[in-house]
Amino acid sequence: MTPALEVRGLGYRLPGTGKGDSGNGRFLVRDVSFSVGAGETLVLLGRSGSGKTTTLKLINRLLEPTSGDVRVAGERAADLPVTRLRRRIGYVIQEVGLFPHFTVERNVGLVPRLDAWSPARIAARVRELLALVGLDPDTFVRRYPHELSGGQRQRVGVARALAADPPLLLLDEPFGALDPITRVELQREFAALEGRIGKAMVFVTHDVREGLLLGTHIGLMLQGRLAFLGTPDDFRRSDNPECRAFMAAA
C-alpha cells in the first residue's frame, strides 16, 4: 500500500558558494529518507538547529527542497499546485497562529471554506472537531482567540488542522509553549486522539519524553541528517551516542 508520506533523499541547502563566513551553501537538511503510513506517528527528535523544523517545512513546501523527493499519498509534492498540496496536509505550529479577527468557528472552518464546502457542512464539521479536541462547541464557537487560554488555543489549532480531514498532519512542537501541567494534559489527550483518527503524522519536538509517549517511530536528527530511525523501544536500547544523550535527559 502507498504510504501517506514518503520522503526520499530530502535535502535543503542554503544558497551561496560556501566561501562566505555566514554558512552560505551549508546544508540544513541532508539525505533524509523515511515513510509514514496511516495511523503512524513519526516523531522527529533533535536539538535546536538540527533540521527538524526545516524538514517539516520541506514537506509542505513552505521551503522548496533543493534535492530529493516528497510524495504525499503517492503523488509527488513538487508536481502539485502548492496550495492544493497544503490543503491536504494539516499543519500545527507552536505559536498556533489562530486568526485573531476570526471566531473559533471561522478559524476551524478555514480550509473547508477555502475548499468551498457548504456552510451547513462546515458548521457541522466544526462542532464535531471541537468535541473531538475536548472543547464544548456551544461554549466555544463564538469566542475569539484572545478569549481562550493557551491550552484551549492549541486545541483549536489541532481542530483547524484536522478540518478538511487531511490524510497527513505535520506538528511543530505543538505543546512547546504551554505550562507543564497543561502540556502533560494535552499530550495524554493527543495520545488517545492519535489512535482514534488514524492519520499519518510527523511530530517535531525536542522533548524526548513527549516523543516516546506519542511516537510509533522515532527519527533522531543530528546536524541535518537522520542519525537514527526506529521504534521507541529500539530508541531506548540504541547505543547511538546521540540517542543515549537524549535518553539521559529523559
Binding site: L62, V82, L85, R86, Y91, L98, P100, H101, L114, H146
Partner: protein, 212 residues
C-alpha cells in the same frame, strides 16, 4: 464687524468655500488611498523597494507646501492655476502616511498567523484579503487619518494658486490685515480637521485588532 455677522452676511460664499475645501480634501485623500494602499502592499512583497519608495514620499513631505504648489504650476497636464494643481500637491503630501502605514500595518501582522495561513494553503491574495488587510486595517486607517488632517490644513494654502477653499478668506484677511476675515477661514478649517480626526479615530479604534 463680528465673525457671526460676517457669516450671516456672506453665508452663500462661506458655504461655497467650505464645499470647495471639502472637495479638495476628499478628492486628494481618496486618490492618495487608491494609489497609496496598493503601493504599501507592494512594498511588503518587494522589500527592496521600501527604502527608495518611502524615501521619495518623504522628500515630497519635506518640500514646503507653498513651494510645492509653485513648482507644480509650470508643469504640463498636472500644472496650471486652479484646483487640479492643488489636488496633485495634496495627493503627494497624503501619500507618505498612507503608504507607510499600509506597509507597517501589514508588516506588523504576527508572523505565526501568516505562516499558519500559508501552511494551510491560502493563496497570497486570500492571505492579503482575509488576513493581512483586515488585521492591518486599524494602522492603515491611522495613516488615512493623519493624511486627512494634514490635507485640511494644507488645502488652505491652495487658495494661493487659485484653487479656492477656506484659504481664500485667510489670504484675503492677511492682505487687508483683518483678523475677523482670517478667523472666518481658519475656524471652519480647524473644525473640519477636528471632525475628521474624531470620526476616523473612532473608526480606527473599532478596527484595532489585538494580536493576542
Amino acid at each position: 464687524m463680528s465673525l457671526l455677522s460676517f457669516y450671516a452676511r456672506n453665508s452663500q460664499e462661506v458655504l461655497g468655500l467650505v464645499g470647495q475645501h471639502v472637495y479638495l480634501v476628499a478628492i486628494s485623500t481618496g486618490a492618495a488611498i487608491v494609489i497609496g494602499v496598493p503601493l504599501g502592499v507592494l512594498l511588503t512583497r518587494r522589500p527592496g523597494w521600501r527604502g527608495p519608495v518611502l524615501g521619495v514620499a518623504n522628500v515630497f513631505q519635506t518640500v514646503p507646501s507653498l513651494a510645492l504648489f509653485g513648482f507644480l504650476i509650470p508643469l504640463p497636464f498636472i500644472g496650471g492655476i486652479g484646483a487640479r494643481t492643488a489636488i496633485v500637491a495634496l495627493v503627494l503630501y497624503a501619500l507618505l502616511p498612507i503608504v507607510r502605514n499600509t506597509y507597517e500595518g501589514i508588516a506588523g501582522v504576527d508572523p505565526a498567523v501568516r505562516e499558519a495561513g500559508r501552511g494551510m494553503g491560502m493563496t497570497d491574495w486570500q492571505l492579503l484579503a482575509q488576513v493581512e488587510l483586515p488585521l492591518g486595517f486599524g494602522v492603515i486607517l491611522a495613516g488615512v487619518r493623519v493624511a486627512t488632517v494634514v490635507s485640511v490644513g494644507t488645502a488652505t494654502i491652495a487658495a494661493a494658486i487659485g484653487a479656492g477653499g477656506l484659504g481664500v478668506y485667510i489670504f484675503r484677511g492677511v492682505a487687508v490685515v483683518d483678523d475677523t476675515l482670517i478667523l472666518a477661514g481658519a475656524l471652519p478649517a480647524a473644525l473640519m480637521a477636528l471632525a475628521a480626526d474624531g470620526l476616523l479615530g473612532v473608526a480606527e479604534r473599532r478596527f484595532a485588532w489585538r494580536a493576542k
